[in-house]
C-alpha cells in the first residue's frame, strides 16, 4: 500500500481509486510495476531521466482557468515519456482536512485572514508538501505537480525557496485568461455540474459561480517574478511567455507540449478499418472487400447517428456549443483505412491521411501462420511472451517503436480542436488508446477493439472516459480481432484464436487465458463515472 496517502484522505476523497480497469483512465493511479512507460527511450537506476533532477511544477491561476486540466494532461504526457510524475491537488487535501459538510472559512484565501484560517491553510499546505517530499525523496519520483491557485507573488517566492532548500527545482505554470468566453465555457463544463446548481439556468449558475470565486479570492497577481522559472499560458495557449532562469531538458519539453495543448473539450473516436481483399498481406496494401465496404457504410451511419442523438440531447437540455464541434477524420496512408473513410468523405467531412498512423510493421513474420512462426522463430516467440510490449520480431516493429513513432500524432491529437475520428489498424489504436487512458505499457498489446464498436474518448477535466458505441448488424466473422491481423503479439500457447472480443454482444468479459487478463477488466459497456465535486471546491 502506498504510504503517501493517509487513510483520512482516502476516506474523504471520493475520486481517489487505487486501481482502475483499462476502460477507465488510469492517470490518477499510482503505477505499481516498474515497467517502462509506453514511449520511454531508456531507463536508469534512479528512475530519473535526462539528468534533469527533481522538479515541482506549481500551477498558478484562478479557478476555471483549466489548471487541473493542464496538470492532468501534462502528467499523462510525462508518464508516457517515462518520467515518474504524480499530481497533488491541494483541493483533495482541503477536502480531507475540512470535515465533510463543512464549508471552508470565508476568509480562507484573504491576504489578511484570521489567525484560525491562516493556521488551517498552513496545515493543509504542509500536509501536501510533506507528501511531495516523500514522493520525490523516497519513491524515486521525478516530477510532482502541485495543483493549487497560488494567487500571490510572495507565496510563490516562498514556495520556490522552500523547495530549493531540499534541492528541488520549481517551475510555475500560470494559466491566465482575459477572454470571458473561455472562462465561462470552463465553468459550464467542469464547475457547475454539481447538485447545487441542478435547477439553475446555465448562465445564472456561471455568474453565481464566478462571483463566488472573485469574492473569495479578491487578490490575484499574475506572474511577473523574473527570478522564478515560469511559463505563462495566455488564453488557453494563444500566447506563451516563458521566463527561463534555469530550464532543463524536461522544462523545455514541457513548453513544447504546452504549445500543442488547449483547454477546449473535444472527443476522439477510434474505429477499425474494414476488412480487405488480401487481408493477410501487409505488403499488398489491398483495397476493401465487399464486407469491408459494408462495414465502412454501417460504421459511418452509426457514428453520424450517435452524434446526431447527442446533438438533440444537448438541444433538449438547452445547452449550446454543439455547432462548434465539427468532425475531422484521420486515416493512415494505407488503402484500407483511407477507403473506410469514404462515406465520411461523401458526407462532406474532411479526411486527412497520416503516414505515421500505419500499422505495426510485421517484419519477416508477415503472412506466416502462428504455427510456422513458432516453428521458425521459437526463441523469438519465447522472448515475445516475456515482454510483448518491447520485443520486436525480426525486421518488425515493437509496440514501443510504434509509440515513439506516434509521438507527433499524440501532440497533434492534443492540438486538434474539433472532434476527431481516427480510422486505423488495431495496433495503432492500442497505442493511442494507451496514451489517452494512461494504460500500463504491458497491457497495451492486449487491448482489444472489436470491429462492431466505435470507441469514444470523452475528456473530463479530471480524467478521460472511454465509451463504446455498438455498430449493429455486422456479420459475426468480421467482428473479433480479425483474421487479417497478424498474430502479433502471438497469443500465449493454449489460447484458441481468434479470441473473443471484449465487446462481444453478450457484454461478457473475455474468456481469454486468465494469466494474461489485466486485473479489473470490466464489461465493455458499463460506464464508470466518478462524480465531480468541483462546486464546493473553489480551488
Amino acid at each position: 500500500m502506498d504510504t503517501l496517502l493517509t487513510a483520512e484522505i482516502v476516506a474523504n476523497s471520493p475520486r481517489f481509486r487505487r486501481k482502475s480497469s483499462i476502460f477507465v483512465d488510469a492517470i490518477h493511479d499510482l503505477p505499481e510495476k516498474a515497467d517502462l512507460a509506453p514511449a520511454q527511450l531508456y531507463s536508469t537506476e534512479s528512475g530519473r531521466l535526462f539528468h534533469s533532477g527533481r522538479i515541482v511544477i506549481i500551477t498558478v491561476g484562478l479557478p476555471a482557468r483549466g489548471k487541473t486540466h493542464i496538470s492532468v494532461a501534462l502528467a499523462r504526457y510525462l508518464r508516457w515519456l517515462g518520467v515518474k510524475t504524480r499530481i497533488f491537488h491541494l483541493g483533495d487535501y482541503r477536502r480531507a482536512t475540512i470535515p465533510f459538510g463543512e464549508d471552508m472559512p470565508d476568509d480562507y484565501f484573504y491576504v489578511n485572514a484570521t489567525a484560525k484560517s491562516v493556521l488551517l491553510r498552513q496545515k493543509i499546505v504542509r500536509k501536501c508538501r510533506e507528501d511531495i517530499y516523500h514522493f520525490l525523496n523516497h519513491e524515486n519520483g521525478q516530477i510532482a505537480i502541485y495543483d493549487a491557485v497560488n494567487p500571490l507573488a510572495s507565496g510563490r517566492r516562498s514556495l520556490a525557496k522552500e523547495f530549493a532548500k531540499h534541492d528541488i527545482e520549481t517551475l510555475f505554470i500560470e494559466s491566465w485568461c482575459d477572454d470571458e468566453r473561455i472562462i465561462e465555457e470552463n465553468v459550464r463544463r467542469v464547475k457547475i455540474s454539481s447538485p447545487d446548481y441542478v435547477s439553475w439556468k446555465s448562465e445564472d449558475a456561471v455568474k453565481h459561480y464566478l462571483n463566488r470565486i472573485y469574492s473569495r479570492i479578491p487578490q490575484f497577481q499574475t506572474m511577473e517574478e523574473k527570478d522564478l522559472n515560469y511559463i505563462k499560458m495566455i488564453n488557453a495557449g494563444e500566447r506563451l511567455i516563458v521566463n527561463n532562469r534555469s530550464f532543463g531538458y524536461l522544462s523545455n519539453r514541457i513548453v513544447f507540449y504546452l504549445l500543442n495543448l488547449h483547454i477546449k473539450s473535444r472527443r476522439t473516436y477510434f474505429a477499425r478499418a474494414g476488412v480487405s481483399l488480401d487481408a493477410d498481406s501487409y505488403k499488398a496494401d489491398a483495397s476493401l472487400s465487399e464486407q469491408g465496404e459494408d462495414y465502412a457504410k454501417k460504421m459511418t451511419a452509426r457514428l453520424l447517428a450517435h452524434r446526431e442523438e447527442e446533438k438533440q440531447a444537448m438541444i433538449e437540455r438547452g445547452e449550446t456549443g454543439y455547432e462548434s464541434r465539427p468532425l475531422k477524420v484521420w486515416t493512415s496512408t494505407r488503402r484500407r483505412t483511407v477507403e473506410t473513410a469514404k462515406y465520411f468523405h461523401e458526407n462532406g467531412y474532411k479526411i486527412r491521411q497520416r503516414s505515421q498512423l500505419s500499422q505495426l510493421h510485421p517484419g519477416v513474420c508477415e503472412k506466416m501462420s502462428e504455427d510456422r512462426i513458432r516453428e521458425e522463430f521459437g526463441d523469438e516467440v519465447a522472448k515475445h511472451e516475456l515482454d510483448p510490449y518491447h520485443h520486436r520480431y525480426p525486421r518488425a516493429e515493437s509496440y514501443h517503436d510504434l509509440a515513439v513513432r506516434l509521438e507527433p500524432i499524440i501532440l497533434e491529437l492534443e492540438r486538434e480542436q474539433t472532434d476527431l475520428l481516427i480510422i486505423a489498424h488495431e495496433s495503432v489504436l492500442r497505442v493511442l488508446y494507451g496514451y489517452l487512458m494512461a494504460c500500463n505499457a504491458a497491457d497495451i498489446p492486449f487491448l482489444e477493439f472489436p470491429r462492431d464498436e466505435i470507441i469514444e474518448i470523452v475528456p473530463e477535466s479530471y480524467q478521460n472516459e472511454a465509451q463504446r458505441i455498438h455498430i449493429p448488424d455486422l456479420p459475426e466473422e468480421i467482428i473479433p480481432a480479425s483474421p487479417e491481423d497478424l498474430k502479433i503479439p502471438v497469443p500465449p500457447s493454449g489460447v484458441v484464436s481468434p479470441t473473443q472480443g471484449l465487446g462481444s454482444p453478450e457484454g461478457q468479459a473475455t474468456p481469454q487465458s486468465g494469466h494474461r487478463t489485466p486485473s479489473g477488466i470490466r464489461t465493455p459497456r458499463e460506464r464508470e463515472r466518478i462524480s465531480q465535486q468541483h462546486v464546493e471546491d473553489v480551488v
Binding site: 527511450l41 539528468h51 495557449g237 511567455i241 519539453r253 513548453v255 513544447f256 500543442n260 473513410a341 468523405h345
Partner: protein, 450 residues
C-alpha cells in the same frame, strides 16, 4: 487500383521561418542550426540568405549602403529580398521543400507584412523568429565573430571592419521595429537576451511547435564541443562489436593522454567543461584520467550507449557474415535504416539521441566520450552530413575532434594522440573485415574546414 483520391496526403505544412533582428543577434547562427537540425531528423529545409543575394551586386558595401536614406542602397536591398523570396517560392513549388528559412534583418513592419502576404498567397505559413539582445558584451562578441568570418569583410583590417559594422548596425537601429501587438495575428517567437525570456504567439501547427522547441534550446554564446571515441577496447582488438568490455592497454594509454590532448586542442581560460560518457565501461574508463586531472563534472548518459546490435552483439563481422549472410548484405544496402535483429538502426539511434542533441544545444563546453555509431550521428548533426553517408564515415580511434560552431558553419579540428589502435572501419560492400580508411579520404591532423 489507385489509392482513393480524397484526403490530403501531405503530413507537414509548409513553413517559412522569417528571421527578424538587428545584425549581430545570432540570426544566421539560428537559421543555420535550424536547417541542420531539420535535415538531421529528415525534414527537407533550406536557408535563403538575403545578404548573399545582395552580395552579387555589392560584394563589400560600406556602412553607408545600409543608411535608410540611401535610396540606391534601399533599392538594391529590396531587390535582393525579392530575389530570395522568388527562389524560395520556386523551391517550395518543386514539392520537395518543407521548411525555408529567410535569413535577413526584416526589421520593419512593412517588410514583414510583405513577406506574410507573399507566404499566405502561396499557402505557406510564416513563422517569425525575432532575436532581441541588449547585452552589449554579447553583441560585441558577435561582432568580432562576424567581422572575422563574414564574406563582407574578407581581407579587411579587423579594426576597420568592426567599426564599419557598428555603423551598419546603427543604420538599422534607426528604422528597426520590434514585433508588437500590431502583429499579434502572426505566428511569432520573440527571443529576448538569448532566450531568458521567450514569447511564443499563435503557434498553428505541430511542426512549428517543434521548431520553436528546438530554437528555445539553442544559445549563441561561443563554445566548443569535443568528441572522442573510447580508447581501444578488448573487443576492438578481436574485432568483435558491441559488448561491454574494458579498454586495452593502448586504450588506457589514450585515456592517460586525453587531458594533454585536450589542452593541445586549445581551451580558453576559465572555461568550464563537462564530460559526457555513455554508461558502458570503455567510455567511463577512457574519461577517467581527464576527470581526475581536471575535476570536470561528469555525466553518464544511457542514450550515448553504442548502437545495439541485437543478436550480433559480441560477434565479429566475419561471424555475422557467416551466421546472418542476408542481414550482412541488407545492412550494406541501406545502413542508415538497417536494424539489427533485436537491435537498433542508425535511424533508431538518431531518435534516441534527440534529447542529447537538445541538451547539447543548451550546454556550453562539453567533451563527449562515446562510441563509433553514436559519434557518427552526433557528428552528422553538427557537420550536416547526409543520412546515406553518415553511417560510413571514418571516425578513427585515439583521435580528438573539436567542433566550434560559428555563424557561417561549424569549424572542425582533429588531434591525433599518436597512440596506435586497430581500425574499426569497414567500407561498403567489402569483405567482412575491418580495414584501413582509404588514404585519399584521410583528414590531415588539425585540419580546419568550414
Amino acid at each position: 487500383m489507385p489509392i482513393a483520391n480524397f484526403g490530403t496526403q501531405s503530413d507537414d505544412s509548409k513553413i517559412c521561418v522569417v528571421m527578424v533582428g538587428l545584425p549581430a543577434r545570432g540570426k544566421s547562427l539560428i537559421a543555420g542550426k535550424a536547417m541542420r537540425y531539420l535535415g538531421w531528423v529528415g525534414i527537407p529545409a533550406r536557408v535563403f540568405n538575403v545578404g548573399s543575394y545582395r552580395r552579387f551586386s555589392t560584394p563589400q558595401p560600406q556602412a553607408g549602403f545600409f543608411d535608410p536614406h540611401n535610396e540606391e542602397g534601399e533599392r538594391m536591398r529590396r531587390a535582393a529580398a525579392e530575389a530570395a523570396m522568388s527562389d524560395m517560392l520556386q523551391w517550395f513549388n518543386t514539392g520537395k521543400g518543407v521548411v525555408a528559412i529567410l535569413d535577413a534583418t526584416n526589421s520593419t513592419k512593412d517588410r514583414r507584412r510583405w513577406i506574410y502576404e507573399k507566404c499566405t498567397e502561396a499557402g505557406i505559413e510564416a513563422l517569425f523568429v525575432e532575436s532581441i539582445c541588449d547585452d552589449e558584451d554579447l553583441i560585441m562578441t558577435n561582432i568580432k565573430e562576424v567581422k572575422t568570418t563574414s564574406p563582407d569583410y574578407k581581407g579587411q583590417d579587423p579594426e576597420v571592419a568592426a567599426l564599419d559594422f557598428r555603423n551598419r548596425i546603427r543604420n538599422y537601429e534607426k528604422v528597426y521595429e520590434t514585433i508588437d501587438d500590431d502583429e499579434k495575428s502572426y505566428t511569432y517567437v520573440k527571443l529576448i537576451n538569448v532566450g531568458s525570456t521567450v514569447i511564443i504567439n499563435q503557434i498553428k501547427d505541430y511542426l512549428s511547435s517543434r521548431l520553436v522547441y528546438y530554437i528555445q534550446n539553442i544559445h549563441i554564446k561561443p563554445r566548443s564541443i569535443w568528441l572522442s571515441r573510447h580508447g581501444e577496447s578488448e573487443f576492438n582488438l578481436t574485432g568483435r562489436i558491441g559488448g561491454d568490455s574494458n579498454i586495452s592497454e593502448r586504450g588506457e594509454a589514450y585515456a592517460r593522454a586525453l587531458p594533454e590532448l585536450m589542452r593541445k586542442s586549445g581551451i580558453p581560460d576559465n572555461t568550464k567543461i563537462v564530460i559526457w560518457t555513455s554508461t558502458l565501461r570503455r567510455t567511463i574508463q577512457s574519461a577517467r584520467h581527464l576527470k581526475a586531472e581536471t575535476g570536470y563534472e561528469t555525466l553518464e548518459w544511457k542514450a550515448l550507449d553504442e548502437l545495439d546490435s541485437g543478436v550480433c552483439d559480441g560477434l565479429t563481422y566475419e561471424q555475422i557474415a557467416e551466421k546472418y549472410p542476408e542481414d550482412f548484405a541488407a545492412r550494406d544496402e541501406d545502413k542508415y535504416n538497417y536494424r539489427y535483429r533485436g537491435g537498433e538502426s542508425y535511424r533508431d539511434v538518431v531518435i534516441r539521441l534527440e534529447p542529447i542533441i537538445m541538451e547539447l544545444e543548451r550546454s556550453e563546453n562539453v567533451i563527449i566520450v562515446t562510441h563509433q555509431a553514436v559519434l557518427r550521428c552526433i557528428y552528422a548533426y553538427f557537420m550536416n552530413v547526409p543520412q546515406e553517408q553518415s553511417p560510413w564515415m571514418e571516425v578513427p580511434l585515439h583521435t580528438l575532434i573539436k567542433l566550434t560552431p560559428r555563424a557561417y558553419g561549424t569549424e572542425e579540428q582533429r588531434f591525433k594522440a599518436d597512440i596506435p589502435a586497430v581500425s574499426t572501419w569497414r567500407g561498403k560492400g567489402t569483405s567482412a573485415k575491418h580495414q584501413e580508411f582509404p588514404a585519399e579520404g584521410k583528414k590531415e591532423d588539425t585540419e580546419t574546414k568550414n
